[in-house]
Structures are given as C-alpha cells and as structure tokens.
Amino acid sequence: MKSLEGSNSRIVSVGAYRPARAVPNSEIIDRIESTDEWIRQRTGIESRNFARPDESVIDMALAAAKIAVERSKLSIEQIDTVIVATITYPFQTPSAATALVAALGNPQAAAFDISAACAGFCYGVGMAHDFIKSGTSQNVLVIGVEKLSDFTNPDDRATSFIFADGAGAVVISASKEVGISPTVWGSDAQSRDAIVMEPSWIELRGEIDGDKWPDIKQQGQTVFRWASFAMSKAAKRILEKAGVSASELAAFIPHQANIRIIETMAKEIELPDSVIIADDIRTSGNTSAASIPLAMDALLTKHPEAGGGLALLIGYGAGLVYAGQVVQLPPAWNS
C-alpha cells in the first residue's frame, strides 16, 4: 500500500456574498416589542442582510465561491475538493456541495456538506488542511453559507434580531510554508439543548403549518457563558498549539455571534491593542457558518495591510461544538 506525500497549506483567497437587502433593527423591533438601542446594547447588531425569497443557499454560495476562485488565480478545474458548511440547505440529499460544483462547472470535484453550525467553517478549514497534509487534496474550496431567515421565527424575542443570511468562501492550497496551524476542536454535547432547530422533519410529516416549521431556538445566557469563557480557553489552546503568541497576531476573527462575546473573549485572551478585532456582526448579524469568511473579507477590505498576517479563527455553535486555528491571512486583493 502506498502513502502520499502531503504538504503544508494556506488560505490563498477569500470571497464574500452579502444579499442586497439590508434590514435595520427598525424593521425587526415591532414584532418583538423591542428597541434599536436594546438590540445594539445586547448584541452590537445595527443591521443585517436577508436574501430574497427566490435567492437560495446555492445562489449565495456560488457568488462567494466565484470571487474566491477568481482571486486565487486558479481555474475552477484545479479545485479538487469542495466542502460546504451550512445548517440551512433545505434538502437532506444530494448535498449543497454537489449543487455548487455543478453550478461552478466542475462536477468532478469531491464534494460534501458538513453540519457543525456556527463552527462549520473552522471545521472545514481544519479538514481542508488535513486533506492537503495527507496528500488527498491539492486545492480545496471551503464555503460557509446560511439562509437563516428561512429558519428564524420573526416573533421569537430571543433570536429574531440575531440571525441573518450570507456566504463566504476561501480557497486553501498546498504551500511550502505553514499557513494553517493544527486545529483545536471539540464539543460540549451535554449542552445540545442550548441551541436547536426543531421540530424534526419526521414530526412534520403530514402537518406542516406555521407553528410547526423548524426554527432556531437558543438559551441566551447558557450560550453566552460558554462562548465567552469556555471558548476563550479554547482560543488560548489554539495559540498554544500553533506556537503563536497573541502579540504576533494581526487579527482576531471569531464567529460573529454577539459583539459582547467578542469583546469578552478579546479581554480573556488578553489581546494587545495592535490586534485588529473583526466586528462584522454590527452590519451583518449572525450568519452562522458564513460569519468568519464574511468577517475575514470585511476585515481585509478595511485593513488591506493585515493581508499575509496571522489571524486567530474560532467558530462555535449548536452542538455545542467548536473549532479553530491560526491562519496566515490571504493577501488583500485591493492593496
């Protein structure tokens, strides 16, 4: 039996797609008897984007993927593996990834979806790196995409102002230098109930109506505690495993769940002021698996000088599950 010689890997490009319709807090508050100020104070969110009813998960993933592939300077045929992280593709099978490779014009690539909620993108980055390291893949497209507006109850006072739509993609390729650190990942499955999408499809057989539609529900305090404190400890383990100190980072790009979680994590990790902290949550809301690549794209748009620098990524969400790594950011396309 042969073994393949793999190599290191790095993110060579990023691409993002934000749906055109911006939805400010003022459009959300009437149904939940809340205020713009209350939402900003609790979450940092000022506005988010919702896809059109006829705009699908695949449409958004395709738009982000095309930009990432174009910026990578690779041809679509050179992409040998496609991983889609999503919890809102409304078909059990075939996967969103196969729809995507067909739409991209490369229907031969290995393609599959992963279900790790808001941690999905970092799970995908870790897998892409490991596929390249083992020699299985050479160029991997990792996409985080969500249309959470389809699975959020607009009358739910705990969630309706949080979740949103969008897609982000990266191309990860073999490289001589170490561009992605070993992934730190895990779960806290005793808290499976903390974030759920229910009821199950089986319960819906023969009785779909508005009340039965699966939508996302969340125990805010439980999630805030786990995300702010347990995830700060995980973030420190990521740095330790990567052999990178906080002062060597150019950027911190955590899952965009809530600005207060992000700020608490930054404090707990003791990030120096020199580290740019992604705050795409303010204008994009929580886009689950899409949030980290969307935030990476926004950060490099605003701070092209961070291109090529090191960034700490950490995704965490329903499961509860988490994953993260230190990556070398791709070069900014606008510098």
Binding site: Q41, R42, Q221, T222, F224, R225, S228, F229, T264
Partner: protein
C-alpha cells in the same frame, strides 16, 4: 469554611462595579439587579462567572435567573460555600 455575608457582599460590590460600571456605594442587599441596578442578562452572566472564580463556588445556569436581588446572590454564595 463558609464565607460571611459581609465578605461576599464586599466582593460582589467590586465585581458588579467592574463588570457593569455601577458605583459600589449604590449596591445594597435589597437592590434588584435588573430594575434597580440596570444589570442586563448578559452582564449578569459575567458577574456570575467572576463570582464563581472569586468565591470558589458553582452557580448553575438555572440558578442565575433566580438571583433577582443582590441579597439573593449573596445568600446563595454564602450557602454554596458552606
């Protein structure tokens, strides 16, 4: 050894001031975290985590919602430390 009520109140005042920016002088046993001190649900989690570390006790999530007043929190921490 169980902590005294005075010691826990003094420590809690410092924590609430640090987390929520509320002057320690205005924090009293009878004050309600939400209606009197304007500590929101997420800040309350930060207060609880800081109190757990400081006093070496566990305050489970389902207990947090029952701690309406400063006195509730002080008494819970005192009995949990016993």
């Amino acid at each position: 050894m169980a902590l005294t009520q005075d010691a826990v109140l003094a420590g809690l005042k410092e924590i609430v001031e640090e987390v929520a920016g509320i002057p320690a002088a205005s924090i009293e046993m009878g004050k309600n975290f939400t209606t009197d001190l304007d500590v929101d649900s997420l800040s309350m989690v930060e207060v609880v985590v800081a109190a757990e570390e400081r006093f070496g006790v566990k305050i489970p999530d389902d207990k947090v919602t029952e701690l309406a007043t400063v006195g509730d929190a002080v008494n819970f921490i005192v009995s949990a430390s016993a």
